[in-house]
């Protein structure tokens, strides 16, 4: 036993005590959640852009109200750019669901619009070209042409008439996906509607009252705790409903990946540097393998702890702790341990059967595909966590360690028997995997010739 612990301790130190480990521990989340994190950072760092838009208002009535709308939008954005106070954060009731999303979208980072009235007489292509040149020089962001008959209100009766309706033209380098265009047309339509109502002698306020939209809130299910108290349902945010399971799956995948790769490298080093012979002269293959797996599990738990603690700190800083499914942590740990054992033992067997990293990579191709498979279907699974695909896929042993917690971290109720059964299947598969890996490991470690084919590997595994 002491030998196993000696081996485990060395393996652990070799995995955790390196600069490469530190770098990959920091780089992994950056790579995987980099986009979100970068946006969060930029929100506080980047300066706010101002976009000047020249308005050619041929109707002569829209420019002033448009400018007022732009100003009030700018003021609103300036206010919401300030970080919300603690009181605001803790009472989601005071906010509407829409505003909560702003935190994720970096909405307050949006450009401010400065509208400029075009002072020319007649608009023609020469003038349009001049304005285009100003855009190319960067003086102006866009120009917009409001036709003179924009306030006319006649319903088209033929397709030709519909095509002939007045249209606002928006010119910009990125007019195709410009947010300014979307904003402008929404505001123009609102203004035009009000003006047409007034022109028709209809009371605007009545219409507004009549068309006041009804909101909707997504809520989770009510729960009753052991003392019989019913806990109110919590508000559900679509983004949170996706991000939490995704983060759970990504974290588990990252830990498995970061534990398996060093295992492959360490076995390869032991083999190609003939350390294996020295080790086998001191410890049995079984002790050696157990020690290595133990050290790797220890290393992976260290990574997991770093991320869990880090994640918790970030969450409590942002006030998101209520979204972290704490009750799942024990399940999560158990599935993680067996997931690491399962894949690390495969990587170990592969490391023992080849002599070069290159060969290992081609041999690991199918393993990688299986390991990544949850990544291809996760969205379908969190949409329907109790569907046939989700249920069966989470019992496929290589996917169980990531899929079962993924399903459990959604809001759906997974029958308790399923994670237990999944765990039993996973344990059985891991035991079989470790057993086969051990046999391949024993023969492979001293094998110095060409890379064995699958048939030979099977022979090693079953005949020794």
């Amino acid at each position: 036993m002491r030998k196993i612990l000696t081996i485990a301790a060395r393996e652990y130190r070799a995995m955790v005590g390196t600069k490469a480990f530190l770098i990959s521990v920091t780089m992994m989340p950056v790579l995987m959640f980099g986009g979100v994190a970068a946006m969060e950072l930029l929100k506080n760092v980047a300066e706010i852009k101002h976009q000047t838009i020249v308005v050619i208002d041929q109707s002569g009535r829209l420019f002033e109200p448009l400018r007022m709308a732009a100003d009030s939008r700018n003021r609103f954005l300036d206010q919401s750019a300030k970080p919300p106070s603690a009181a605001e954060r803790e009472s989601p009731e005071t906010d509407s669901g829409d505003n909560r999303d702003d935190d994720f979208n970096g909405f307050s980072q949006a450009e401010r619009y400065l509208l400029e009235r075009w002072e020319g007489d007649v608009i023609n292509d020469v003038e349009r070209w001049k304005l285009s040149e100003r855009i190319r020089k960067g003086e102006v962001y866009a120009f917009v042409e409001i036709p003179p008959d924009v306030l006319d209100a006649r319903l088209p009766t033929t397709p030709a008439e519909a095509a002939g309706l007045p249209r606002v033209r928006f010119y910009a380098e990125d007019s195709g996906f410009s947010e300014a265009r979307t904003w402008l047309i929404a505001v123009i339509n609102e203004l035009v509607k009000v003006m047409r109502l007034e022109a028709a002698g209809i009371e605007v306020e009545k219409v507004q009252r009549a068309s006041l939209p009804v909101g909707i809130r997504g809520l989770g299910l009510l729960e009753r705790n052991s003392s019989g108290e019913i806990r109110p349902a919590t508000e559900k945010n679509e983004l949170i409903a996706i991000i939490v399971p995704l983060a759970v799956m990504m974290l588990m995948f990252m830990v498995i990946f970061m534990a398996s790769q060093p295992m492959l490298e360490s076995v390869l080093e032991e083999k190609s540097n003939r350390i294996a012979e020295v080790l086998l002269g001191s410890a049995s293959p079984w002790q050696l393998m157990t020690g290595k797996l133990l050290g790797t599990v220890g290393g992976s738990m260290t990574i997991l702890m770093i991320y869990l603690v880090g994640g918790w700190l970030v969450a409590s800083y942002r006030g998101w702790t209520q979204y972290i499914p704490l009750d799942l942590v024990p399940w999560f740990l158990v599935f993680q341990v067996f997931g690491v054992l399962f894949f690390a033992s495969i990587f170990m067997a592969v490391g023992a059967s080849v002599t070069q990293l290159k060969e290992a990579q081609s041999m690991l191709m199918p393993v990688w595909l299986v390991m990544m498979s949850p990544m291809f279907v996760w969205l379908a699974i969190i949409r329907d966590p109790n569907g046939t695909l989700a249920t069966w896929f989470s019992f496929f042993p290589p996917a169980t360690p990531t899929m079962m917690p993924l399903r459990m971290s959604t809001d759906a109720t997974i029958p308790t028997i399923q994670p237990i059964a999944g765990l039993i299947v996973l344990i059985a598969a891991t035991v079989a995997c470790v057993y086969i890996a051990a046999r391949i490991f024993r023969v492979g470690l001293l094998w110095q010739g060409k890379t064995p084919r699958l048939g030979e590997l099977l022979k090693w595994a079953f005949r020794g």
Partner: protein, 312 residues
């Protein structure tokens, strides 16, 4: 305790169709230095691995330090594999202590330090293995093999890649180990080193034992077929007789290679007829020559019936 550290009896090991070791018998007395020689691929390493129980023989028995069973690693054995065997990214001190701990010696710091000092490596403890030169790494590897104070030390090619100074210090280390009571087996291509160090020499060729004994006894079994001849008168010529296979000029005399099975008395008579003999010396074959004679893959004569034909 058994008087033999190692006893192999009728040991055979096959890899697929190939017979790596074929019906090998070997006895290594406790406290001796035993040299394994033999060309590449002749079965040396396989034999060493069977002694280490990394491999199990297909037939025959391998008894090491009294035990003949089990696949389990033996903590009383120390092993230096041919080249490398060290974790590149570990530090010397940590690595040596790790190897000692693996053999159940949890406090070897002092012992390891003594050996580092003895091999002139006192300040290497905190260096990483991949910063060491080949000779330095070889010394570290040697200490790794003996860090757990083994009764039996197995060294596979310990002298390859060493400069003469390092070779000397490693040779002294081996002798020191023997004084401490260890039995040492090493394999080598360096015949001079084998002649200098070994009490007993063992040669394996194509999986079979071809030599086993003290240097004297081995040399005694080979007919000396070279003689040094010097006449009183340097002008004297050699007789033209069929027994002389070839002649080299050496040191005002002749180095004469005779045909196998030559009657020496007749040769001396013929020489004496040419003129007054000043010097006549039978040169015993060196281990190097014996090795080459056995292992040189010449025409059918060697292939046909080894080892009987090589031995005269």
């Amino acid at each position: 305790m058994n008087q033999y550290a190692i006893e192999l009896s009728q040991v055979t090991k096959r890899f697929g169709q190939q017979v790596a070791v074929d019906g090998l018998d070997l006895r290594v007395p406790v406290g001796s230095i035993y040299g394994f020689i033999g060309p590449n691929g002749s079965g040396k390493t396989t034999t060493l691995r069977m002694i280490l129980r990394i491999y199990q023989p297909d037939s025959g028995t391998v008894t090491v330090l009294g035990g003949s069973r089990g696949a389990a690693a033996d903590d009383r054995l120390g092993y230096l594999p041919e080249e490398r065997g060290l974790y590149k990214r570990m530090r010397v001190g940590a690595l040596l202590n790790y190897y000692a701990r693996l053999k159940g010696h949890y406090d070897s710091r002092e012992y390891i330090r003594q050996w580092l000092n003895r091999l002139g490596a006192a300040d290497w403890e905190n260096r990483r293995i991949d910063t060491l030169s080949k000779g330095m790494a070889q010394k570290v590897q040697f200490i790794a093999a003996i860090a757990a104070r083994p009764q039996l030390v197995i060294l596979d090619e310990p002298f390859t890649g060493l400069d003469p100074v390092n070779m000397e210090s490693l040779r002294d280390a081996v002798l020191h180990l023997r004084e401490e009571g260890s039995t040492i087996i090493f394999s080598t291509h360096d015949m001079d080193m084998a002649e200098q160090l070994c009490d007993t020499i063992f040669m394996i060729y194509r999986g079979k034992k071809v030599l086993d004994g003290t240097l004297d006894s081995i040399q005694g079994r080979y007919v000396a077929n070279r003689v040094r001849v010097r006449f009183a008168d340097p002008e004297t010529r050699l007789p033209e007789i069929p027994e002389i296979a070839s002649v080299e000029m050496a040191n005002r005399g002749f180095l004469v290679t005779l045909d196998g099975g030559t009657d020496l008395t007749r040769v001396i008579q013929k020489l004496a007829q040419q003129g007054e003999l000043h010097h006549f010396e039978l040169i015993r074959p060196s281990l190097h020559e014996i090795f080459v004679r056995i292992a040189r893959p010449t025409s059918g004569e060697l292939d046909a019936g080894l080892p009987e034909e090589a031995l005269a």
